[in-house]
Subunit: 308 residues, 2 copies
């Protein structure tokens, strides 16, 4: 499991004066020079795992790969600076595929004022693999980390959750501007982007922060996609279950002190709705309360890369 | 062909104030902040293309991948700062493989004081793909580029060439310290690391610099590996042909003004020998002169990723 590997890696990596935040968050933080802290994140996506090129225009695959990386910068409340792209291309049709991938990435890069600096291309007899590395600038209050949630903090999320497989997992808008705006105007204790799934990403925050969390299930904003998906599959997950565990929503999950959360929810400073879906608590573990106030354990579910 | 794709990309990428040097050199140069220029390079290597895990300890594959990246920083005379690693791992045995790759990389990272900041792991049913992105600091006289060679400059190389397939392509030492030392103490007009092959990498320099080059074939330092390889294969390439076109020597090829070249060759400031192997000329094209002074065209040969 990827978490196991990260645990191993954290124990094995030697400390380094440049490395201000290492593996385990959405991005690493580097002290590039005396005056410059930089956020760096890399994502690798493969055909047949993260998208299916037999069903999908490669432009959308290119866009998705870059958008997922931008979402990691959003999770750190960082401003996008520059990116490099490494491609492992199928030998046949590789040139056309490379062009199409860039055609999908470049408009998104321009939208976020990201300098695309090229990268590496390799070719082989296997399926497409795309790896993008992004550099971001730390904004005002420093990098937004996973490990700062405190008991009493409210769980605040952008947008709605579940059913991204119906299309949103490809065409989502990374919450880069939203994260920077919130980080500039409110005190945020911790943050993550919901790539694995609401419950699983919440579990990442509490694991890093050394606390617990209770989700008020009635308050979880459920997307129309989650409802449609639940309707289409008899005896499948409920809309709420989709919202808690589907993954690839790429919304923000934030730990916000109570006063700030209240102000944020009243002011609603974003184009996308902000919702409070529970709170962080001292007791470890992930919990849910139903509308009658009954608390029960909430199993963190979502997308995990399993290594055997 | 990769060069074709780079040509397309250069025409397509919009200019960006942060991007001081874009695709086509060994690394890109970014203006990360008002006072900080940073070099960024990415390399992607795949099992079955760049190494063969059925024949090779994955520690050596990990080391090679990082060393090839460090060599790109050397080509820019940049000081290594930090790196991120993206892995696409076979599902079965992926955890052990990831650990072994890092075990191969980390001693080399420590040797060059490189901060390893983690990265991304993904798993699939395909072979291993490793992508490493490195950040480097521009040293004293700015980044060493491919496009600065001038007619009259001498072609100066480190070490010897050819036959790296006998083992050196895995265990080579990237010329990071050598490049920084030369860049600090001599005027260098252009540089590249010999990853594709001496003649092909020379062709990259003259293409970018808009000039030509003549190689004095008698002066090319031929490695013992190249001689052994030529002995072992009857009717195969000569030792000189191996030296000119084998690739993965990871030595430096430099364009040095004549006076500086002479001083450098007398002083021999490195632990590895420096040799003058020819000169850059105004007339375009790549040429060779034999010991009797006859000039003929030299076909640039080496390792190229072909895209169809």
């Amino acid at each position: 499991m990827e978490r196991e590997f990260i645990t191993w890696l954290r124990g094995r990596l030697p400390p380094h004066p440049l490395l201000r935040l290492g593996p385990g968050d959405d991005a690493a933080v580097l002290q590039i020079s005396d005056s410059t802290q930089c956020v760096v994140t890399v994502d690798l996506l493969a055909d047949g795992v993260d998208f299916d090129l037999s069903q999908l225009d490669p432009r959308r695959a290119g866009r998705k790969t870059l958008a997922a990386n931008l979402s990691d910068l959003a999770a750190m409340a960082a401003r996008p600076l520059a990116g490099v792209v490494a491609l492992c291309l199928p030998r046949k049709g590789g040139m056309d595929l490379a062009v199409a991938l860039y055609e999908g990435m470049l408009p998104l890069a321009e939208q976020y004022d990201l300098a695309v600096a090229g990268g590496d291309t390799n070719s082989w007899d296997g399926p497409l693999v795309v790896s993008i590395t992004l550099l971001g600038e730390v904004t005002g209050r420093g990098p937004l980390r996973r490990d700062g949630a405190q008991p009493g903090d409210r769980i605040v999320v952008t947008g709605s959750f579940g059913g991204s497989i119906l299309g949103r997992h490809l065409d989502f808008e990374p919450r880069v501007r939203e994260a920077m705006k919130l980080h500039a105007n409110y005190e945020l204790h911790a943050g993550i982007d919901a790539s694995d799934g609401l419950s699983l990403d919440l579990a990442h925050i509490i694991e890093e922060s050394g606390c617990g969390a209770v989700v008020d299930t009635a308050a979880v904003p459920i997307s129309n996609d989650a409802r449609r998906l639940a309707e289409n599959i008899a005896d499948g997950p409920t809309p709420l279950e989709h919202a808690l565990s589907d993954g690839e929503d790429f919304e923000l999950i934030l730990a916000v002190p109570p006063d700030e959360a209240q102000r944020m929810l009243v002011e609603q400073p974003l184009d996308v709705p902000l919702s409070e879906v529970g709170e962080f608590i001292a007791e470890p573990g992930l919990w849910q309360t139903d509308p009658s106030g009954n608390r029960s354990p909430l199993a963190p579910r979502g997308w995990e890369h399993r290594l055997e």
